[in-house]
C-alpha cells in the first residue's frame, strides 16, 4: 500500500492515492495536498467546498455530485472549476481526505 509522510507520520493511501483513513486528515494536511496540486493557498471558498464535501460524505458515504455541490455549497460551477482547475470532483475529494467520488455527474 502506498503511503505519504506528513508531520513526522506515515499516512496510508488508497489505490487512487487518496487518504485511506479519514482520521489522518487535518487542515494542515489539506494545505499540503493542495500545494502538491499546485494550489498555493486555500481560500475561504476552497474551504467551503472541502467542508461541504466532508459533511455530505459523513452523511451519505460518497462525495456530492457537482450539481449538488454547486447548488448547496454556495460556490457556482465557474468558480468551482477556477478553484480546482485540475478537476473539481477528484482533486477536491483528495484534498478533503475522501476517496475518489463514485458518481458520474
Amino acid at each position: 500500500m502506498a503511503t505519504m509522510n506528513f508531520a513526522g507520520k506515515t499516512l496510508e493511501l488508497d489505490a487512487d492515492g487518496n487518504l485511506a483513513n479519514r482520521v489522518d486528515w487535518s487542515e494542515d494536511l489539506a494545505r499540503e495536498l493542495a500545494a502538491q496540486d499546485g494550489i498555493a493557498e486555500l481560500t475561504p471558498q476552497h474551504w467551503a467546498v472541502i467542508n461541504f464535501m466532508r459533511t455530505v460524505f459523513e452523511k451519505d458515504g460518497d462525495a456530492p455530485s457537482i450539481r449538488r455541490l454547486t447548488k448547496e455549497s454556495g460556490v457556482d460551477t465557474k468558480t468551482l472549476y477556477a478553484l480546482f482547475p485540475k478537476g473539481p470532483a477528484k482533486r477536491a475529494a483528495k484534498i478533503a481526505g475522501l476517496p475518489k467520488p463514485k458518481g458520474c455527474i
Binding site: I66, R67, T77, Y81, P85, G87, R91, I105
Partner: protein, 158 residues
Amino acid sequence: MTQAAEPIQKVSIIVSHGSLEGVYPGLIMANGARMEGIEASLFFTFFGLDAIIKKRMNSLKVATVGNPGMHMPTLLGAIPGMSAFATSMMKKEIEKLDIPPIGEFITMIHDAGCEIYACKATVDMFHLMKDDFCEEVDGIISVGQFYEKAAGAQIIFT
C-alpha cells in the same frame, strides 16, 4: 508489468442524435471529462442541434419507434402518448441520479469550461440563425474548423 498508458488530455465529442437518449450520453461524457480535469468540447450536428436550440432543448423525447433498446414492438411504440410516457419515465430516473435537464446541463457544462459548437452545414440545411441557439453556443463552425479545434484530442462520435 505493462507501462501505464498516457492519461487522456482532451476530448472532442460529437452529438448527432436529437432524442433524449441520443443527447445525454455525449453531455455526460463531456461533463465527466471536465470533472476529471480533461479539456473538452462539444460539436452538435444534424438532429443533435436540437439540444442547443432554445425552443427545443427542453422538450427532447425518447424515441419509442425504431429503437430496439426499448424492447417494444414498433406498433406499440407508435401509440400516441407512448413517447411522452417513456420520456417522463426517463426524466424521473435521470433526476434521481442528479443529472440536470438538458438546458441546465448545457449551462453547467459550458460553465465548466467546455466549448460548445454548432455544425455549419446543418445550420445552413435547416435554415437556422445564431439567434435560434442558446447563449452557451460559442460558434457555428465548419467540419474543417472542428478538426482544427480538435487537434490533439480524442474524438468521440455519439
